[in-house]
């Protein structure tokens, strides 16, 4: 384990007991994630990508193997506010304003009132929502709501950002825009990001490391370190390097795919 490793999984296993017998959600998963990495998890549904992210967050408990976050167990890491988590849906509380929603984790963690106000202002600006603090969620578009939920995850300045298909429900144009913004945010904040997606272009465009997974049992079939530069304009997606990586991801997905 290098000094830079923030998340490390070793022989991680997770089996759900269901009525139809055990389901191997994760089988022998080994992975190191370094500080400042942008790691995408890609694979068909049932491949365990979300489950793995939830293991990092301590929302699921592995049945075997070991996982550490900043050298701690996921539970300890969570209590140490190691990560912010962004879910598939924005999940903003409809009875709280955008500012109020972003304050939610800060209130729970006991930040002072003045600190709260200052942080809310700062993260709203980071996600380009300055001026929307007093608006209620229903007054914002789906893309803006998801940006607000990212701001909420950023508010307590965790060094790790875990994102579970955050843009899955948005249309392509909004998604492109948010991807660009996310890269910008990542460059400005230097966070380590774990990002679950099932879009190949999204994974290739965003990541420094692409983890290809396959189902039954959920496992890692390929880990691709992206040679793309950190600066990524949207038209990088037409470059030959980009297309090459996308090919490799597609091959990895196909190899792991059992059509049953």
């Amino acid at each position: 384990m290098s000094v830079n490793t923030v998340i490390q999984a070793q022989a991680l296993n997770l089996t759900f007991e269901t009525n139809d017998g055990p389901v191997h959600a994760l089988k022998d998963v080994n992975l190191d994630i370094a500080k400042g990495d942008f790691v995408s998890f890609i694979g068909p549904s049932g491949c365990g990508k979300t489950t793995f992210l939830r293991c990092i967050a301590g929302l699921e408990t592995p049945t075997g193997g070991e996982i550490t976050v900043n050298g701690m167990t996921p539970d300890e890491a969570r209590r140490a506010r190691a990560y912010g988590y962004v879910f598939q849906a924005a999940g903003l509380y409809p009875w709280r304003t955008i500012g109020g929603n972003i304050r939610l984790p800060l209130e729970i963690m006991g930040f002072s009132k003045s600190d709260q106000a200052e942080r809310v202002g700062r993260v709203l600006e980071l996600v380009d929502l300055a001026g929307f603090e007093k608006k209620f969620p229903w007054q914002l578009s789906g893309g803006m709501q998801q940006r607000a939920s990212i701001a909420r995850a950023l508010a307590f300045a965790a060094a790790i950002l875990l994102m579970d298909e955050p843009f899955g429900a948005l249309d392509e144009i909004v998604r492109d825009h948010l991807n660009e913004q996310l890269l910008e945010l990542w460059a400005r904040t230097g966070k380590t990001i774990g990002f679950v997606t099932h879009s190949i272009p999204e994974a290739v465009y965003l990541s420094t490391k692409i983890v290809v997974m396959s189902p039954r049992p959920g496992r890692i079939t390929d880990v691709i370190d992206s040679p793309l530069p950190k600066e990524r304009p949207l038209d990088i997606r037409d470059s030959s390097e980009f297309i090459e990586i996308a090919h490799r991801v597609r091959d990895g997905l196909r190899a792991g795919h059992v059509d049953d």
């Binding site: 967050a57 929302l59 969570r78 988590y85 849906a89 709280r96 963690m109």
Partner: protein, 306 residues
């Protein structure tokens, strides 16, 4: 205002049905009265008239038609008679008078409100218990449902008598019955409301390592507010019914229920009808009041697209 015409049409139809029904309903009484007033009535004896239906008797005596609307003690009062009685007992009597409908209304309303507050509080507490305690979840709900299947008419006198025997009288026993009816919708609504946050919202709080109390105050309670209001609107009308029912079998001397009973026993249908309408208007006003509070609260909470 688009709905004004349909609403008025329905109200008009109901009134028309009522007005038309007055004639056959009251015809036998009208004929008896007319006979006492030395008018010619056919057939001539009450016994013979009993063989006729109200409608049949009307066809025999079309001349008595207008008199059916003016009986002092009609079987079915006409709308204008009920209106006049209500005007008289609401506006023409001092509200401290025992003949004032406002006085009786307040007696019922105060028991209703006290019972409603007790019932709502109890309902919320039970719902919190059911949501947070596995044993209560398994045990309380069946009892709550069973409690509502017992006819309140059978239960009310027992509660009044039992509380009376330990010296509790007046407002409180009636409030107990109101509470008994109104806690149930609050339990059902609040359990649903407190459980309404989805898995994702609960997981979000877990990522913050939020305590269970924080989860209650910041997520579950605010999420349950729309459900609570739906329950409150049902609960308040149930509480009013409870208070009236509590007045019926127990010889209460004041309240809507007492007025209904008095009207019945002393052959004063106008009194009964005025009390009925008084109760209906009170229920509508309470329901409307809670709808208004609901709208204002939810708008303030940002839960409706204002």
């Amino acid at each position: 205002m688009k709905s004004l015409l349909p609403v008025l049409t329905v109200v008009g139809a109901i009134l028309l049905f009522w007005v038309v029904s007055v004639v056959p309903m009251n015809m036998h009484l009208t004929a008896d009265q007319a006979q006492r007033d030395s008018l010619t009535v056919s057939p001539e004896t009450p016994a013979e008239r009993q063989a006729y239906s109200g409608l049949g008797l009307t066809l025999q005596n079309p001349g008595l038609l207008s008199r059916t609307y003016g009986l002092e003690r009609p079987r079915l009062p006409s709308p204008h008679q009920v209106g006049a009685e209500m005007w008289d007992t609401i506006f023409e009597k001092r509200i401290t008078s025992r003949r004032s409908l406002v006085y009786h209304g307040w007696v019922t309303l105060s028991a209703t409100l006290l019972g409603f507050v007790i019932g709502t509080g109890l309902g919320i507490l039970l719902a919190v218990g059911i949501v947070y305690n596995k044993a209560m979840d398994m045990s309380v709900m069946p009892w709550a449902i069973a409690s509502q299947t017992i006819p309140i008419l059978a239960l009310a006198p027992m509660i009044i008598v039992m509380l009376g025997s330990i010296g509790i009288q007046g407002l409180f026993p009636k409030a107990v019955i109101s509470a008994y009816l109104s806690f149930f919708p609050v339990v059902v609504g609040m359990v649903k409301g407190l459980r309404s946050p989805d898995v994702m919202q609960v997981d979000l709080l877990r990522t913050y390592s939020a305590s269970s109390a924080q989860g209650f105050w910041k997520l579950r309670l605010p999420a349950s507010v729309p459900y609570l209001f739906a329950s409150l609107k049902i609960g308040i009308s149930a509480a009013l019914v409870g208070a009236i029912v509590a007045e019926l079998p127990t010889g209460a001397r004041a309240g809507f229920g007492a007025r209904m009973l008095v009207g019945d026993q002393y052959g004063q249908p106008l009194v009964t009808w005025a009390a009925l309408f008084g109760a209906a208007i009170t229920a509508a006003a309470l329901g409307g009041f809670f709808s208004l509070i609901e709208r204002l609260t939810l708008r303030r909470m940002g839960m409706t697209a204002a």
